[in-house]
């Protein structure tokens, strides 16, 4: 039987008290002057976000390696994640809208953070990862499972972390690289990345542009093969960053990210034609200050984000032009309390608003919180425990006034049992307030919606071993999550969000890697799998047929195999993906069949004329599978992409 909320809070509070007590005892123990040889266990940096890196030891965090990012540098996050991670990317077509689903969570329950700032559309609560170019980020990480206390009350299923490299201050260090690419469907893309570092200043700029006519052939419902019409897209993205070192460990930085995407929306299989198009424009500004001393770190983040979505369908005279705004601010303090413990205290403030054109009214949602996290390490860092808690006040101003006070506790831990085996566990309370769109969209917004809330738990182990020329990595996670009042959009003529009384999600994920190194050869085989059940337990709907049935667009089975080798400066990979049945109705009466894609990647680095030339080639869907991720939205068959990156400076 699942533990009650009160029981879990009590358990967490007890653990916190116990840890504080142990922390004090340990603090006294270090006064012992006897020198003992200690082996300090370190771990690689999982994220530039202190909340993830230092205060989430029991949370599964996956960092995508830099070589993989190089391979996908001319593509978007949707392509990267769908081929490399067992998360479900719900894609409405090539270059179409793509949203994330972590561990059976909805898109609105899956967070996307840019340097620690949530960048989902403030009205919709979702992020379109097809508009996020890989080139704009230096590091990509994935947090599996909810972390509401630390990452915010909307974080239920997991989070995608997009982080830029930290500024560095080296005298007269400059870099410049240019990338060009092209491929099937008249795709052309190019980008520039440059940085300039001085002893106190750091500047960097990135630009990316893409053009394509996604006129791939698809099979119609009557079986004919047709080229896809209404399919042009172009996009551009520019990011500029500047940082100034006030003193050692005292840095202030500014970042600006502007992007614009225009895409025609091809017809669905049931439409004979389409004249739909959409333009997305986003501006993201971030100011960041951080000061570090021996035992203290202070930081302030302040960001403003504007997302504009302009959708047109002249066929039905529908023109919507919605702009959502978000101001996010976070002031934090990290304190190394003693050898074993550190404390993080921060106060996030998130203000989201939209202006409703017809009524000239503003709908606003404010979240202000205070978060306390404590991390404790013991037994030569073998044990790492973190407890965290968020007290948040949510104020909504619109047709109805929302005034909620929520408390989100969480705790997680990892323990290194042996040199090759570690275990971890994580318990979090989850909560998501309805978005502005869910409350106020006209027509259909539902001001009677209740917030989603529940608990998530996960546990797992990691095996890391080296045996002669072999290295083995195996990670397994088991998770469980209960959400009450899960929000789902229902309707025909008027779509309206409603609450499902209870949804139970649980599953198993594995990540496996075997590497064999001999001479200049490095061979590897990777296997990622996810088995996820996300089912309706209770419903408010009369005579509901969805009880016990899988939530729509949540594949039970999902996985990738990656086989490849690296020889000198050449790397070759074959990635095979499998995505299981996706139900498109809540009662499992309609579904889409599974699909598999095979993808081949080649990368070659060469030094020519004193410059590094990086050639990349990719053949996607090499078996020409005809498939749909979303009903009636066909995906492309076999397609190519070639790229070249030159390091000019």
């Amino acid at each position: 039987m699942l533990m009650t909320s009160t029981g879990k809070i009590f358990l967490l509070a007890s653990l916190m008290m116990l840890l504080l007590f142990i922390g004090n005892v340990s603090g006294q123990a270090v006064k012992d002057t006897t020198l003992r040889e200690v082996k300090v266990r370190g771990k690689h940096k999982r994220s530039g976000d202190v909340r993830v890196n230092d205060f989430s030891p029991g949370q599964k965090v996956k960092t995508i390696d830099s070589v993989t990012l190089q391979q996908y540098q001319l593509q978007n996050m949707a392509g990267l994640l769908s081929q490399q991670e067992p998360v479900f990317v719900k894609s409405y077509g090539f270059n179409g809208l793509a949203t994330l689903s972590f561990r059976g969570a909805s898109a609105a329950q899956s967070e996307v953070l840019w340097n620690g700032v949530p960048i989902q559309n403030a009205a919709l609560g979702i992020a379109d990862v097809s508009t996020l170019p890989v080139m704009m980020t230096g590091n990509v990480g994935i947090v599996y499972g909810g972390s509401g206390a630390l990452l915010g009350s909307g974080n239920v299923g997991g989070a995608l972390l997009l982080e830029n490299d930290a500024p560095f201050f080296v005298k007269d260090s400059n870099s410049l690289s240019a990338s060009l690419g092209g491929g099937s469907f008249a795709q052309f893309m190019g980008g520039l990345n440059g940085s300039m570092s001085r002893s106190r200043w750091f500047f960097s700029a990135s630009g990316y542009g893409q053009y394509g006519i996604d006129n791939y052939r698809y099979i119609t419902q009557s079986g004919a093969k047709m080229p896809m019409p209404n399919d042009t897209m172009h996009s551009g993205s520019v990011m500029a960053r500047a940082a100034y070192k006030i003193a050692d460990g005292n840095i202030i930085s500014l970042s600006a990210w502007y992007q614009q995407d225009h895409r025609d929306i091809p017809p669905a299989l049931f439409e004979p034609y389409s004249v739909q198009n959409q333009a997305d424009v986003s501006l993201r500004l971030l100011a960041d200050w951080e000061k570090q001393t021996d035992k203290n770190t202070w930081y302030v983040k302040s960001s403003f984000i504007q997302d504009k979505v302009d959708y047109n369908d002249n066929e039905i005279m529908l023109h919507t032009d919605n702009t959502a705004y978000q101001y996010y601010q976070e002031i934090g303090w990290k304190k190394q309390l003693h050898q074993y413990g550190q404390l993080l205290l921060f106060t996030p403030l998130q203000v989201s608003w939209i202006n409703v054109a017809d009524s000239n009214k503003t709908k606003q949602q404010d979240k202000i919180a205070i978060v306390l996290a404590y991390d404790y390490k013991q037994f030569n860092n073998r044990l790492d425990i973190a407890l965290n808690a968020r007290a948040e006040k949510i104020i909504g101003r619109g047709d109805t006034t929302i005034n909620s006070n929520i408390f989100l506790p969480g705790g997680d831990a990892t323990y290194v049992l042996t040199n090759w085996l570690s275990v971890r566990a994580n318990v979090q309370r989850t909560y998501r307030e309805p978005t502005l769109n869910e409350l106020y969209y006209d027509p259909g917004g539902n001001t009677s919606l209740k917030p989603e809330q529940g608990w998530s738990e996960d546990a797992g182990y990691t095996v890391k071993a080296k045996l002669n020329s072999f290295s083995i990595y195996h990670d397994l996670s088991v998770f469980n999550r209960d959400i009450h009042d899960w929000i789902i959009w229902l309707g025909g003529a008027i779509w309206t969000p409603h609450n499902i009384a209870e949804v139970h999600s649980r599953g198993v994920e594995t990540e496996n890697n075997l590497t064999y190194t001999v001479g200049k050869w490095k061979l590897h085989i990777d296997l990622n799998t996810a088995y996820i059940l996300s089912t309706t337990v209770a419903s408010y709907i009369y005579n509901d047929g969805s009880i016990g049935k899988q939530i729509p667009y949540t594949p039970r089975y999902n996985g990738q195999v990656n086989v490849g080798f690296t020889y000198k400066k050449v790397s070759v990979n074959y990635i095979h993906t499998y995505t299981g049945y996706r139900f498109i109705t809540t009662d499992e009466s309609e579904y889409l069949p599974p699909y598999q894609t095979g993808n081949v990647q080649i990368m070659y680095n060469a030094m020519l004329h004193g410059r590094v030339w990086q050639f990349t080639g990719q053949c996607n869907n090499i078996w020409n599978e005809q498939y749909q991720v979303v009903a009636s939205r066909p995906m492309p068959g076999i397609n190519w992409l070639l790229g070249l990156k030159i390091s000019i400076l």
Binding site: F270, V478, G492, H498, N543
Partner: protein
């Protein structure tokens, strides 16, 4: 850990990792006999292309569907709005697929397709002429049901003609547009708009004739315009009586009983409440709208289809259950006692009695 606890943990872990078979059970589509059917027009989930045609045969007490898929081995399309039997063919308006699918009435095989943007309703005028109203335009298409061809277009003075009814040699249609409050009269011999007459509310959508050949017009387009019901004499345009729905009430799909003296309609509460939510009925002589539902929808339920069997007077009600799962149809006798219920496709929106 004791031995018992250890075993319990092992069993729990086994349950946790034991996998469910991924492949769903195969869907079996069935086909009814050629006659005596009550067709259920299932809109499908808007944007998903999963509209379906179901049928209930009262004599056999059997449900059949998806008929179109069973016979033609392809999905019908997106938003199946309405259907009409003309001659030996069935005409299916598939709104968001911009087509009218024509089936042979005896075997449901495709006889042809008419490419018409956003078709909504079909009005049979003669064996060689029918009108097709459209959404998001001011056009009524003229078709020849025998040759399955578009033979002409009537440009209406206002947008969204919607439902139509035949009054002797003239056809009446509305304008489901919040900027207008007139209905229009078309001479079916000349296909010309010959007159218009006002009703008491904007956005006239549904028109139907009672036993006295007087016209009832439901108007409104919430939340922009509140609903109204106008009773008028179509020969003169004289308004006989007017009815006003309260704001935030969504009246839908009025139908007459088999003697055409009692009006049934739906009030739908899309937001989960039970107020103004259910099937309402009134006599054509009533001076006020009914305040109490004849059939109450429960919280988090609303009805989306209603039909009255012309043979028995039984009332058919469609529950779309959010348009994200199979809908339900409930059959009531005229006293309001439920006789039967059965499952159909997604979003049952209309009934067509082809008995």
């Amino acid at each position: 850990m004791g031995g018992k606890s250890y075993k319990t943990l092992i069993i729990a872990l086994c349950f946790m990792v034991s996998c469910i078979k991924d492949k769903p059970s195969a869907v079996v589509n069935t086909v009814p006999g050629a006659t005596g059917n009550v067709y259920v027009v299932c809109e499908g989930n808007y944007g998903s292309g999963n509209a379906t045609l179901y049928a209930y045969n009262p004599r056999e007490d059997s449900v059949f569907g998806d008929i179109y898929m069973a016979v033609n081995n392809q999905p019908l399309g997106d938003v199946f709005q309405s259907m009409q039997h003309i001659g030996d063919k069935l005409f299916l308006c598939v709104n968001n697929s911009n087509k009218v699918v024509v089936l042979n009435a005896g075997n449901w095989a495709i006889a042809g397709t008419l490419s018409i943007p956003q078709p909504r309703y079909i009005l049979p005028v003669s064996s060689t002429k029918a009108y097709v109203s459209t959404l998001y335009s001011n056009l009524v298409y003229i078709i020849n049901p025998q040759t399955i061809q578009v033979t002409g277009i009537i440009s209406m003075p206002a947008q969204n003609p919607e439902s139509m009814c035949l009054y002797f040699d003239n056809a009446f249609t509305g304008s489901w547009d919040t900027s207008g409050n007139r209905i229009f009269e078309i001479n079916t011999n000349t296909n010309q708009v010959i007159d218009s007459m006002p009703v008491v509310g904007d956005a006239p959508q549904e028109l139907l004739l009672d036993k006295d050949q007087t016209l009832w017009v439901l108007a409104g387009n919430e939340p922009a315009r509140a609903g109204t019901l106008t009773h008028l004499d179509p020969s003169t345009g004289t308004i006989l009586r007017s009815y006003y729905f309260p704001a935030s009430v969504y009246p839908l799909k009025p139908v007459f009983n088999n003697t055409k003296d009692t009006l049934y309609f739906i009030e739908a509460n899309y937001y989960g409440g039970s107020a103004n939510n259910g099937i309402y009925r009134m006599s054509i002589c009533d001076t006020f709208l009914p305040s109490v539902p004849f059939l109450q929808a429960v919280a988090n339920q609303y009805f989306y289809a209603i039909g009255v069997d012309p043979l028995t007077g039984n009332i058919y009600v469609g529950d779309p259950k959010g348009f994200v799962q199979k809908g339900s149809v409930y059959i009531y006798n005229p006293q309001g006692t439920q006789l039967k219920s059965f499952e159909v496709g997604l979003g049952p929106g209309h009934f067509y009695f082809d008995e």
